[in-house]
């Protein structure tokens, strides 16, 4: 693989990861926390109506997880394509 091809493949893999993670980002916050919140409120976790929980708790936990998953997957990609730092 030439350097150019390798870089293109690295960038594609990066964009694929971004698409997956940003879809989750959108579905959890805008989907579960806002658009679908009212139907979801018919379910509950403990005393939290589910839609309310996503808007005020769950989406924040999800965001944190998404960033760490991103950092971990990117480190794997960096090594695979030999563009990792020291």
């Amino acid at each position: 693989m030439t350097q150019q091809e390798s870089r293109t493949a690295y960038w594609r893999a990066n964009l694929r990861l971004l698409t997956i993670l940003l879809s989750i980002w959108f579905i959890v916050s805008f989907g579960f926390g806002i658009l679908l919140s009212q139907p979801l409120n018919n379910f509950s976790i403990g005393g939290y109506p589910l839609g309310f929980w996503f808007a005020q708790q769950g989406s924040i936990y999800t965001f944190i997880a998404l960033i760490f998953i991103y950092a971990w997957r990117m480190n794997v990609l960096d090594r695979k394509f030999d563009v990792h730092e020291d």
Partner: protein
């Protein structure tokens, strides 16, 4: 020891700490001054970012905002945290790879244009200056309300302390003080929240307590709160109220994109040693921010629950159901003195009533059946929800003193970050980048310090004499960051063919339309009475609140940039090459 002396001692001790850190962390090069020598470990940088990000608004105002909004308050929680996902995935690692000192510097180099750099500097200055006014105001208010000293005295003391550690320490001094400020801030926020959660629900963690049953019963706290609010004519806490679903959606998105485009937060990711530290550091920042942001909804809901049960201890409508005015608790007396809490005994029954008198049906019933003549709290400033919380819960004085120190730490840490962004835009982008490229490093460092000093004086002046729009400026800052800087940065990284003409056109269109829309409803340059349309949903274009318009501005920015790019020349070869370099942490060896 009385509360005032104790508070002054605690706040004084934190100031001594900040100054000690400043002496230890003096900046001796431009790299240390602008980006702390790129040597901050990712976890510590995450902590500093959290303090930089969480302002007086997060610390003092947000829980109160949520208490009165209920469910839709989630827009602020999701908006101010979800932006970090965008920043971590779309901007931070690439800007760190680019490896320079400021946000306008990236825009200027990437779009090979001094004009683009100047447009970015103007956006940055408008965003950061409007934002810093609120912080200086926050320092003054924290002093005057909690420590009972004059606003001017508090503000000047705060300015002097920031001056010492920001002017001498630059980013290095600011970073280490921010780490200390984070610890003080989070401790001050969570201690009262934990005590209140235990009192109400018997659960230690507020995040779990909010979803638990009231102590000694099997009724869920949120269910009880919903019921009490509805019994008093309000909408249920967990229902959509206060804004439409569309505006909640737009506001959340505007705050997210705005957060990701705020220059004083972005530059924090220039301070870590490597690209992968930038990725991880964003995650740590959100962990530290999340500690406060997942506690805030519990603080808000529990404060609301406590407030209503203080005013309405008995059955609604029963003549003995309400709080006797002469027996009202000490915290009410204290906040009445500040003018943030006001009441009027409208029906002269010697008791206080708090209910929704804007709900015509319930107001009528309250009048005819209970003899209530209107809700008797004529003013409840939402800021007292956090500040009065420890007193409402009957916590000892040292906790109250700690909350004062926490509020001041929140305001100072954000102010310092903003001041650095302002100073570096002036000394590095305008002076070194455009007017005097040959300036030596020593002179630039001096210029940076002078710019910082001047920015502190300006911010202090505006904090003492706030232009009458302090409340709206935060919305403006976010709208502008979303509509101007974020799209330019993102296209600079993700669209290799985006060119100078497109980027400049996009920034101007985004900036212009967002300013125009805000001015149409809030008045030209915020002068009261100069607005063209009344600021309410009937007049808003498609019902879009000016606060959420940054999203539309961002979309227009992308569209304008794309269209102009299509009809102008592609960027030169070396620029496309630069973009490719920015996209990889290290240039590969398998060529």
């Amino acid at each position: 020891m009385d509360l005032k002396t104790l508070s002054l001692l605690v706040v004084g001790a934190t100031f001594v700490l900040y100054i000690a850190i400043a002496i230890w962390a003096k900046a001796s090069s431009t790299s240390e001054f602008y980006v702390a020598g790129k040597g901050i470990p990712p976890v510590l940088n995450g902590m500093a970012t959290a303090a930089d990000w969480m302002s007086a608004a997060s610390f003092i105002s947000m829980a109160g905002l949520i208490a009165f909004l209920g469910f839709t308050g989630g827009a602020y929680l999701m908006g101010w945290t979800g932006g970090y996902v965008l920043m971590a995935l779309l901007l931070a690692p690439y800007l760190r790879k680019f490896g320079k000192f400021t946000v306008p510097e990236f825009i200027g180099d990437r779009f090979y244009s001094k004009t683009a750099r100047i447009v970015a500097v103007v956006s940055l200055l408008v965003i950061s200056i409007t934002y810093v006014i609120g912080q200086m105001r926050g320092v003054g208010i924290a002093f005057s309300n909690i420590l009972e000293v004059k606003l001017e005295v508090g503000l000047l003391t705060g300015m002097a302390v920031v001056f010492i550690y920001a002017v001498f320490g630059g980013m290095k001094g600011i970073t280490y003080t921010q780490i200390a400020q984070y610890v003080i801030m989070i401790f001050a926020y969570t201690v009262p929240a934990v005590f209140i959660a235990i009192q109400l629900t018997g659960v230690t963690f507020p995040q779990i307590g909010l979803g638990s049953t009231l102590a000694g019963t099997d009724t869920y706290l949120l269910k009880a709160l919903d019921q009490t609010l509805m019994d008093l004519g309000f909408a249920a806490y967990t229902s959509i109220t206060g804004m439409t679903m569309m505006n909640m959606f737009l506001l959340t998105l505007a705050l997210m994109i705005g957060t990701a485009g705020l220059p004083h937060v972005i530059i924090r990711f220039f301070t870590v040693p490597r690209v992968r530290d930038a990725r991880k550091s964003a995650g740590w920042a959100l962990v530290f921010i999340g500690l406060l942001y997942t506690t805030a909804p519990a603080v808000g809901a529990m404060a609301m629950y406590n407030l209503i049960n203080t005013v309405q201890p008995g059955e609604i409508g029963s003549p003995q159901g309400n709080l006797v005015i002469d027996e009202r608790p000490d915290w009410m007396l204290r906040w009445e003195r500040t003018g943030l809490l006001q009441w009027e005994d409208k029906n002269n029954d010697g008791r206080l009533q708090y209910y929704n008198d804007k709900n015509a049906e319930f107001a009528e019933r309250a009048r005819t059946e209970f003899g209530w003549e209107g809700s008797e709290f004529t003013k409840i400033d939402r800021d007292i929800m956090v500040l009065a919380n420890p007193q409402i819960a009957g916590l000892p004085n040292w906790v109250i003193a700690l909350v004062a120190a926490g509020g001041i730490a929140a305001a100072l840490s954000t102010a310092a970050g903003l001041l650095l962004a302002i100073a570096s835009a002036i000394s590095h982008d305008l002076l070194k980048g455009i007017f005097a490229p040959r300036i030596s490093e020593k002179s630039e460092l001096l210029a940076g310090r002078i710019a910082m000093g001047a920015a502190i004086l300006l911010a202090g002046y505006l904090g003492l004499n706030p232009p009458g729009f302090a409340a709206q400026v935060v919305a403006l800052a976010f709208g502008l960051a979303a509509a101007s800087l974020f799209p330019a940065l993102m296209m600079g990284i993700f669209m290799k063919t985006m060119n100078r003409e497109g980027a400049i056109a996009g920034m101007l269109v985004g900036l212009g339309t967002t300013l125009l829309y805000i001015f149409l409803f809030k008045g030209w340059f915020f002068f009261p009475g100069t607005n063209v349309f009344p600021d309410n949903a009937e007049y808003w274009l498609f019902g879009i609140n000016p606060t959420g318009f940054g999203v539309i501005g961002a979309i227009l920015n992308f569209v304008a940039a794309y269209l102009v790019m299509k009809v102008t020349k592609a960027p030169p070869e070396h620029i496309q090459h630069l973009v490719e370099e920015v996209r990889v942490p290290r240039v590969g060896t398998n060529a």
